[in-house]
Amino acid sequence: MRFVHTADWQLGMRRRVLGARPPKEAAAGVTGEAQARYAQARLDAVAALGRLADQRDAAFVLVCGDVFESNLVGPDVVARACEALASFRTPVLLLPGNHDPADAACVLRRPDFARRRPAHVTVLDSPGVHEVAPGIEVVAAPWRSKHPLTDLVGEQLADLGPAPPGTLRVLAGHGELDVLDPDDDEPARIRRDGVLAALGDGRIHYAALGDRHSTWVDAADDRIRHPGTPEVTDFDEVDPGNVLVVDLDEHAAAVATERVGCWSFVRHDTRLDTDDDLERLDAWLAARPDKERAAVRLALVGTLSLRQRSHLDDLLAAHGHAFAAVEVLPQHSDLATVPDDADLADLDLHGFAADAATELFAAAGGSDGGADTEARDALRLLHRLVGSDR
């Protein structure tokens, strides 16, 4: 039996790094153009995995939670999601996760979703065993509220009897395993021991999980898996952008990891002290593939002169146009701009202007943390004003 295991579509998600919606006034700064392309990319990934399921002749597509970014996404997001789902020929099972729990506001029960929901799409909003096809059962552990007080998967497994002979059972759950995030205060953590035991005694044959955006497989039993999000959502994700094609029998699962995502979110930490460092950064940025679908987050540490800082600004501005986003992470950056004597000489000022520049240099001087950033900014401006005169 073959099915497609995916999760965390997070439809309706926006990434701040990709900028705001186009502001009413034509102000400088990033616009929402990348945001729109990113939203489309998430839908494209869904369509792609649907095509994949069709091609591989999967019995069903199991989405383990977080189909939508929130229960409160707009009707446009719902409508587009339904359109994407309608392009599938394979049946689809949608499990409510922590972002779209089956509470009173559940988007999967909303009239606009219900009206557009294609016939082959089933919402697993009631917990328990669902028969998908003869001999195939899905044990659903949907989220019914944002903050459940128990291990929902464990709850289902506890009440579960052994699978009837000849029937394959897939557990559909959402949440972190306790081994991945040993947070004692979180009551909803999934107890791995329980899952392993259920797999071991044949109550279930595969534990399809969601919530972790990175593709992950349990070390003890490769039938416990997170497929990860089909399109990257954050910089700290490991190997996102995949879906799992699972060939399952009563004893084992053969899992193929298939890539459907097109975007990349990259974080780059580097030191900047010399002109060479700047050139390396320039080269690294230039070497990134698919820049229009890449967001780069830079954490820069080091000390630059005024001139070098101006160079850095120019460099980042130039690359910023090519990338979906280039962001210098302020909280992880420690970039000091220190004027040096060469900078002062460059200015070639006389009279009171020279006196003023000297004062600003003195205020901005030193690489210590207490340096006057405003004075540095003023010096950079002076640099620019003098430069513009020539």
């Binding site: 309706g12 998600m13 926006r14 990434r15 701040r16 990709l18 900028g19 705001a20 919606r21 502001p23 006034e25 102000a27 400088a28 700064g29 990033v30 929402g32 945001q35 970014e69 929130s70 229960n71 409160l72 996404v73 707009g74 009707p75 446009d76 997001v77 509470d103 009173a104 506001a105 988007v107 909303r110 009239p111 606009d112 509220s145 944002k146 070639d348 000022l349 006389h350 009279g351 009171f352 202007a353 006196d355 003023a356 004062e359 600003l360 950033t373 405003e374 004075a375 900014d377 003023a378 010096l379 950079r380 401006l381 002076l382 004003l385 003098v386 513009s388 005169d389």
Partner: protein
């Protein structure tokens, strides 16, 4: 920059003129109005600024009218290391030519030449200062705007550095800080207004940020509301289930209680029935008792009635006695009354008789009195008539008597006077003797002495013995005459009056007076007697009336009136008493009559009462008989006893039932039933409320789902982050611009302040020549004179007189000219200034000009004037008189050109002007 010469051709009114200027010091261009002084300066500006292709209004205005030639200007200038000749012609065959003479010779034409000159000028001279140091015609010489002049600033910088002794570093490119502060200001103005408010980018960023914050807050609030609703829905789901379960559980309890309650209710009804029965039996017993009691009462009433009848008959009988007594009494009273009335009548008559007797007696007395009075009146009238007759006989009245008396007195006086004055004759006889005196015998006693007055002649004779005649003197005779006159008058009067003499008159008078008095007395008596009657006739009439009344019995003797009166009084008293007795008898009679009537009435009443009582008794007896016929007394008593027993039985039964019910505590059961129903109702209400809230919350959630709050919130959050980031960046740039500007401005201020000192020193040096050595000036950082202090009095610049402002303004410009580096210097052009300056100050200003231009390399000063005497005081001036430069055809109409004009060769001597003849110009 220095101007060596300027040549104008066909420029406004100037046909062709070249002016050569002194290279240093003052050049005064003097000439009449419209001779073209101002045109010379204007032409220089056009030469440097306007391309030969320009058709600016100034250029078109410079075109001479009616001449087919474009205006042309040529100037020879040295500036910096350069010296060049520059020529331009506009409008007709425009042309630009530049010949650079030093440092290396160059020849350029057209736009290239223009660009080259512009470059040279920009490089070597401060063109703003060039304009700033100029004083235009017709404008007040005020403060020159010197604050931003770079050449001056450099000069002052140099002076300041020199003043503080700092080694100024060489400045390979001194123009590098040109406009740096202005650019900093420009940069700052992108973010902040001069007032410090955010503007431009910063303002937009702030607006965007606050809008984003508001939007984000709005979305977040909405999201939280939805989340609250979700929680509410969950809670409501649970609550609805709880309420339903409780209602189900409660329903069983209600059913059980209701069963018990209905059982108790049927028993309650039984108790109620028993109670009604007992009450009914008790009522019946009561009615039997009442019937028996009423029979008893009837019997008793009959007895009472019989008593009443008896008592009424007794009363009637008793009254009959009283009745008869009353009638007897009445009859007696009537008899007494009649007797008393008769007695009273008799007494009255007696009293009347007595009164009449008294009256007659009184009349008689009065008649006698009246008769007396009549008699006395008659006597009085008779006396009165007699007196009247006497009075009528007497003619002498009182006045006549008084006249006589007067005359007699006069006589006596005259005689006395005569006697007093007369000689006296004293006769003394030693023995008795008789003598005749005037014929009268006078006997003298022995020793008697008699004195005789001698009045008139006296004849004394002792008869026979002696005759003596004594004659008075003359005076005595006069007196004797007076006496005789009076005697005569008296005698005459007496005769007139018919009296013998005075004595006689007096007697007559006394008699008349006595008659008068008697008449008066009689009149009084008459009046007294007639008093009350008017006159005698009336009196007599009264007398006659009384006499008539008395009639016959007039002389009834003297009746004793008081006795009669006493008798009359007694008779009247007796009559009164009798009348009173009669009245009392009548009253007693009336009382007796009343008593009889009362007794009659009472007898009637008593009779009626007795009849009533008899009737009542009869009726009652009939009633009792009828009642007894219907029901015997014994039957009534039996019925009463039987019904009372029955009532007691019924009451005992009810009490037994009620006690049995009370043991089962129906109140508690009822309270519980009522409570259970209320709980059920409340739970029902709770369920309805919960379902309503559930429906409302669900509705809100469905609506909220379609709002896409998550998308809105995410968008708002992204926008907020971008807005914050952008705002931070802009704010940082703004702060940097502010910091740079502040720092630059602060340093420039510091430098400027240091500039002020040398500038002030230079201005004061020049101004003291004009105003005296006590002058001091205050100058601000923009190098403007703010205050002048003279002889200890400080006055703001604006408050100074026009003349003083003009002089100080000129001093400031000349100070600039003296200060700036010769390489940077520009000519100071003064077009007809000092119109406000008095001759004394003008002379001093001449010294100022000289002092300002005395230094080696000091700037050129060019003065244009039509009143050369203003500038006569300038010692070092080179005076250039200007005459009209006209085309040859115009000479005939105008006076001859001055002799200084040389017709053919242009002079190259400074201070000369050449009015060139019109020469054919090269194409």
């Amino acid at each position: 920059m220095r101007l060596h010469r300027i040549r104008l051709r066909d420029f406004r009114g100037v046909h062709d003129r070249e002016v050569t200027l002194a290279e240093r010091g003052v050049t005064v261009l003097q000439g009449d109005n419209e001779v073209g002084k101002t045109s010379t300066v204007a032409a220089l500006d056009l030469l440097f600024d306007a391309a030969d292709s320009s058709r600016r209004a100034e250029i078109r205005a410079a075109q001479p009218s009616g001449v087919d030639a474009g205006p042309e200007v040529e100037a020879e200038v040295s500036t910096g290391p350069y010296r060049f000749v520059y020529r331009k012609r506009w409008l007709r065959r425009p042309r630009t030519e530049l010949t650079v003479l030093a440092p290396s010779s160059e020849q350029l034409t057209g736009a290239e030449a223009h660009a080259r000159v512009s470059a040279i000028l920009d490089e070597t001279m401060d063109r703003v200062l060039w304009r700033g140091l100029r004083v235009e015609q017709h404008t007040a010489v005020g403060q020159a705007d010197l604050g931003g002049q770079d050449a001056l600033t450099r000069a002052l910088d140099r002076a300041a550095s020199g003043a503080v002794g700092a080694a100024s570093s060489p400045r390979p490119d001194p123009s590098v800080d040109d406009g740096l502060v202005e650019r900093a200001v420009e940069e700052l103005r992108r973010y902040r207004t001069p007032g410090g408010r955010a503007t431009g980018e910063l303002r937009l960023a702030e607006v965007r940020r606050s809008a984003a914050e508001a939007e984000h807050e709005r979305c977040r609030t909405a999201l939280e509301a939805v989340e609250r609703d979700v929680a509410v829905r969950d809670r409501l789901d649970a609550d609805v289930a709880t309420v339903r379960a409780r209602r189900r559980a409660h329903a069983a309890e209600v059913a059980e209680l209701e069963d018990r309650w209905s059982g108790l209710q049927s028993r309650l009804r039984e108790v109620e029935t028993a109670r009604s029965r007992a009450v009914l039996a008790r009522e019946r017993a009561d009615s039997a008792r009442e019937r028996r009691a009423s029979r008893d009462a009837l019997v008793a009433a009959l007895g009472a009635d019989a008593d009443v009848v008896t008592r009424a008959a007794e009363a009637l009988a008793a009254h009959e006695g009283e009745h008869a007594a009353a009638r007897d009494e009445r009859d007696a009273r009537r008899a007494a009354d009649t007797a008393a009335r008769n007695e009273a009548g008799a007494a009255r008559r007696r009293a009347d008789d007595a009164a009449r007797a008294v009256s007659a007696a009184r009349d008689r007395a009065e008649l006698a009195d009246l008769a007396d009075r009549l008699q006395r009146a008659e006597v009085a009238r008779t006396g009165l008539a007699a007196a009247g007759r006497v009075l009528a006989a007497t003619a002498l009245d009182a006045d006549d008597l008084a006249g006589l008396e007067d005359l007699a007195r006069d006589l006596v006086r005259a005689e006395a006077a005569r006697d007093a004055a007369a000689a006296r004759l004293e006769l003394t006889a030693p023995a008795g003797l008789t003598v005749l005196v005037d014929g009268t015998e006078v006997t003298l006693g022995a020793g008697e002495t008699r004195t005789l007055p001698v009045a008139g002649s006296r004849a004394l004779s002792v008869p026979g013995v002696l005759d003596v005649r004594v004659r008075p003197g003359l005076d005595e005779a006069g007196r004797d005459d007076a006496v005789r006159e009076r005697q005569q008058a008296l005698a005459e009067r007496c005769e007139e009056l018919g009296v013998a003499g005075v004595e006689d008159a007096r007697v007559a008078r006394r008699e008349a007076d006595d008659a008068e008095r008697r008449a008066e007395e009689h009149r009084a008596a008459l009046a007294r007697e007639l008093a009350g009657h008017g006159d005698a006739t009336a009196l007599r009439a009264a007398h006659d009336a009384i006499r008539d009344r008395l009639g016959e019995d007039i002389p009834e003797g003297d009746a004793d009136v008081p006795a009669l009166r006493t008798a009359a009084d007694a008779a009247r008293d007796a009559a009164d008493q009798a009348a009173r007795a009669a009245d009392e008898a009548a009253a007693a009679c009336r009382a007796a009559e009343d008593a009889v009537r009362d007794a009659d009435t009472r007898a009637a009443v008593l009779a009626e009462r007795a009849a009533d009582a008899r009737h009542a008794h009869a009726r009652r007896a009939e009633e009792l008989r009828a009642a007894r016929a219907a029901e015997a007394d014994a039957d009534l008593a039996d019925a009463e006893g039987e019904r009372l027993a029955r009532a007691r039985d019924a009451e005992r039964e009810h009490e037994a039932l009620a006690a049995a019910l009370a043991d089962d505590d129906p109140d508690t059961v009822e309270a519980r039933v009522v409570n259970a129903r209320a709980v059920d109702e409340r739970l029902g209400g709770e369920a309805v409320r919960l379902e309503r809230e559930h429906a409302e919350t669900t509705g809100r959630l469905q609506a909220a789902g379609l709002e896409g709050w998550h998308d809105q919130e995410a968008a708002a959050a992204a926008e907020l982050e971008v807005a914050v980031r952008e705002h931070d960046a802009v704010a940082r740039r703004s702060a940097a611009a502010q910091r740079l500007h502040d720092t630059l401005a602060r340093h420039r201020e510091r430098v400027r302040r240091s500039y002020v000192a040398p500038f002030r020193a230079q201005v004061e040096r020049l101004a003291r020549i004009v105003f005296g050595s006590s002058l001091s000036l205050e100058i601000d950082e923009d190098l403007r004179i703010t205050h002048r202090t003279l002889d200890g009095t400080t006055v703001a610049f604006g408050a100074l007189s026009s003349g003083a402002q003009e002089q100080l303004g000129l001093c400031a410009r000349l100070a600039c000219a003296a200060l700036v580096d010769p390489a940077d210097g520009v000519p100071v052009v003064i077009d007809d200034a000092l119109g406000h300056t008095d001759p004394e100050r003008l002379a001093r200003l001449g010294a100022v000009f000289t002092a300002a231009t005395a230094a080696d390399g000091a700037a050129q000063v060019i003065v244009l004037t039509c009143t050369p005497e203003r500038y006569h005081g300038i010692g070092a001036a080179t005076v250039v008189p200007l005459a009209p430069s006209r085309r040859p055809g115009e000479h005939a109409r105008e006076r001859e050109a001055p002799a200084a004009v040389v017709e053919d060769t242009p002079a190259r001597t400074p201070g000369t002007v050449v009015d060139l003849p019109r020469a054919p110009r090269a194409g």
